[in-house]
């Protein structure tokens, strides 16, 4: 037997086996993952846009994978396997010099913003280092009747009128198609979980992400725990109890040496009282109470507040403790400023100056400074389109934020706007938002 054949042939045979095991078989298996319910296949225009995305190398700086990590929260819910069912070429990416785009169609739904940003990113985000893509546009002398001009700020506008070409339109259609469908509750008959289900509603995505970050390493992503070491949460009596006091207490203050279902657990559970906010703890607890077959009554952040103060909880799921009891309008300027930067500054500018003729300024705006905040709040909740402000008609539609931000977040943003750049509108309260949200 030839030694050369043994080394080269033998090692190649081993390698081929491993290549099939680690490359081909996972490929075959995962190619069949069914699409997430609600996920739409790409239209021909969007598919062409994806080709432009690939050929311009967008995926070198933009990922399309939201991880179940705190740093990824602002990009959307954690990505699910089925999210990629229609994504061949897959574009998960390996590097983020720009933000994740998994949910960009929801996060920045204005095609006009997208066109300006592609033509010259620094026209809307001054600190951006993204390349400009003028070759996705053409400059014409006269606007063709069926076209819409890209309204650029004067310092970035070339001589003529800028309109997107076919590649540009396709790329924006693709970007706007990137929307994460909401994940349906996995348990048949489980309580539908969404913000619209009243004050008790909780964000299932947030709860799952917080659980993954803080709890899953011991209790397991499926709540099964590790036999004899970390107790399972699926089917646990405390998790399923109607009175959540023991459950909240365990998360707040930790546990050690407990006997659960006849099994003594030595590993101490850490206290989370100082690590997580009341809302986060409520989200985690609600995630645990509604997952893996559990059917515990849901709780609100107010319950956690009460438990922190050692007040007895009279848990009555039909009459929850209202989280909107706080009367005085207070707000956290840092939080408001951050939320504004994430959600509003791209169009209205970090200094509230807007983009002349395209995005209205907020500094000195009548609605922002009005004593009655109703119009300001409804604009945030429901969006706005085609309105003339100070004699200037704005074509760009402002997206509604009702489904994307909590009442507290909307209040923070509005209060930030009302106290910045020389504005002096009176502050709003959480209750104001809740009231107007309920009024259809």
């Amino acid at each position: 037997m030839n030694r050369l054949l043994a080394i080269s042939g033998g090692s190649t045979l081993i390698y081929t086996g491993l290549a099939v095991l680690m490359g081909v078989l996972p490929g075959i298996w995962l190619s069949k993952v069914p699409p997430t319910p609600g996920l739409k296949p790409l239209t021909p225009l969007e598919a062409r846009g994806r080709d432009v995305y690939v050929s311009e190398g967008c995926f070198y700086c933009h990922t399309q994978q939201v991880r179940p990590l705190s740093g990824d929260k602002s990009f959307g819910r954690p990505s699910a396997p089925g999210d990629y069912a229609y994504q061949t070429t897959e574009l998960l990416g390996s590097e983020r010099n720009g933000p994740d785009l998994s949910n960009i169609g929801t996060r920045q739904s204005s095609s006009i913003w997208q066109f300006i940003h592609l033509y010259q990113p620094r026209a809307v985000v001054p600190q951006s280092i993204m390349p400009a893509y003028p070759w996705l546009f053409s400059v014409v002398d006269k606007l063709p009747p069926e076209e819409k001009a890209v309204s650029l700020p004067p310092e970035f506008a070339p001589g003529g009128t800028v309109i997107p070409n076919d590649d540009g339109k396709a790329l924006v259609a693709y970007l706007l198609s990137l929307k994460q469908p909401a994940l349906a509750p996995t348990q048949p008959g489980a309580v539908p979980l969404s913000r619209s289900s009243g004050p008790l509603g909780f964000d299932a995505g947030k709860g799952a992400a917080l659980f993954a970050n803080n709890c899953a390493s011991c209790h397991g992503a499926e709540g099964k725990g590790v036999p004899g070491t970390f107790p399972p949460l699926a089917g646990d009596p405390v998790v399923n109890a109607a009175n959540p006091t023991a459950h909240i207490g365990a998360v707040l203050h930790g546990l050690s040496g407990n006997v659960i279902n006849g099994q003594k657990y030595e590993a101490p559970m850490p206290a989370f009282a100082d690590q997580l906010s009341d809302q986060e703890i409520a989200d985690i607890i609600n995630h645990e109470r509604s997952s893996w077959g559990n059917r515990g009554a849901l709780i609100s952040a107010a319950d956690v507040v009460a438990a922190r103060a050692n007040e007895p909880l009279q848990k009555q799921p039909t009459k929850p403790v209202s989280p909107i009891a706080a009367p005085a309008p207070t707000f956290d300027p840092a939080e408001g400023s951050k939320l504004f930067a994430e959600n509003c500054a791209a169009c209205h500018g970090a200094e509230g100056k807007g983009v002349p003729g395209t995005f209205p300024p907020l500094a000195g705006d009548q609605v922002v400074n009005a004593t009655d905040p109703a119009e300001h709040i409804t604009t945030m909740l429901r969006g706005l389109g085609g309105k003339a402000i100070n004699g200037q008609k704005y074509e760009v539609e402002m997206p509604p934020f009702a489904d994307r931000l909590s009442d507290q977040q909307i209040a923070d943003i509005i209060n930030h706007e009302r106290t910045s750049w020389g504005n002096h509108g009176p502050l709003v309260t959480l209750a104001d938002i809740t009231k107007l949200r309920a009024k259809k």
Binding site: M22, L30, V33, G57, G98, R122, W135
Partner: protein
Amino acid sequence: MSYTATAIPLRTAAPDDPALARVLAAYVASATIWLVLTTAVGLLVSFKFAYPDFATTPALSFGRLRAIHTNGTFYAWASQALIGLALFVAARSSGARLYSERLAWISLALLNLAAVLGTVTLDFGFNYGQEYREWLWWIRVILGLGLITAVWNMIATVEQRDAEDIYISNWYTIGGTLWTIVMVVVSLLPWYQFGLGQVAVQAFFMHNAVGLWFTPLSLGVSYYALPKLLNRPIYSYSLGVFAFWTNLIFYPIVGAHHFEFSPLPWWLQTTAIVFSVAMLVPVLSGTANFLLTFRGTHEWIYRSPAVFILVAVYGYLLGSTQGTFEAFRSLQQLWHLTNYTVGHSHLTMYGFVTFAIWGGVYALLPRATGKYPYNLAMGIHFWLSAVGVVIYVAALSAAGTIQGLDWFRGLTFIQSVEDAAPYWLWRSVGGSLMFAGHLVFAFNVWTMTYGRSYAELAAAKTVPV
């Protein structure tokens, strides 16, 4: 000439085989042209982080040039140089003539055809959309044919060897090329690459392309070049064989660590992490083997081209160990998707692979042509590239850590861009030094091939007896 397995073949190295010399010189010269070209592209791309509105045309845009830089350095520079060196090592370590000079030219022509077509099509925006296999499928078929003809030549040459044993270098070079051919086929076939399935194949491919192509070829060439330069056998033949088999078995399994926290199955990610730790076995045995071969040479090693291999060994050790630690979820949580990864890939592909190639070229090309480079020019090349890559990797490691911490603290995304900006400028500084080093290397290749010979003097200086 006979020898035992542990005392390896320090055959007399008179430039007595003009065909072999021609082949090696041509491969190295061609590779060097690609090195200068693709790192010039890399340097331009790095400046775009500070000046995004510089050169705003499709052909010079970031998204197209980045792929040209990575694919060009991988499949043109490093691959051509390593195949050229591997062919030379196959002949010399076997005491045989090259099986076919003609076949060697065909391989080089195919590799260059693929590289030219790949570069041009990428610049026109034809991109397959998967990192490290961006070239269109038919161009990757040409690349595969280049590898097949090359490995055929290596095997047929080793088949003519004058002893029963096959020198360890050939295990690595022939094995690595054969595995890479399998890898190219697996990554080409489309039938199991849809959606998440394509992610799984990409995870497998993108790490294998490094760990089962560049790693074994670089180690294989070093196993021959280092004993030549030090004039002593490699420390342990069996340790080399042990590292060969463990590298082969552990490496194909680690790919999914590129997609931690992604929707790929959790167990696949965990398996990858476990085998990333197992990779310490071949890495530490390989490193120990080389460092023990170096023992006692510290007084004069800095005047020998062997110092390039010394850097390569440390690059291998640091880069691979860093890779193992990066794979842990706790650290991946911080560093994944940041510029830290780019620093890591330059520590490995440059600090290890490229320095190993330079060690091999400085060791073997003069022995083939009889022409030696100027020691001063070799020293300038060494220091420019070594200092450059240290600045480069340090800057991007810092930038990546800051980006990761910013995300972790929930700052707005654009804040992480602003915070990384000064480090990107330092990256360009490091890159400029590296590129200047490449120009000096190109000059040295010219002196070792067509230029003025510096034979007697340099030979006496660089090869201590």
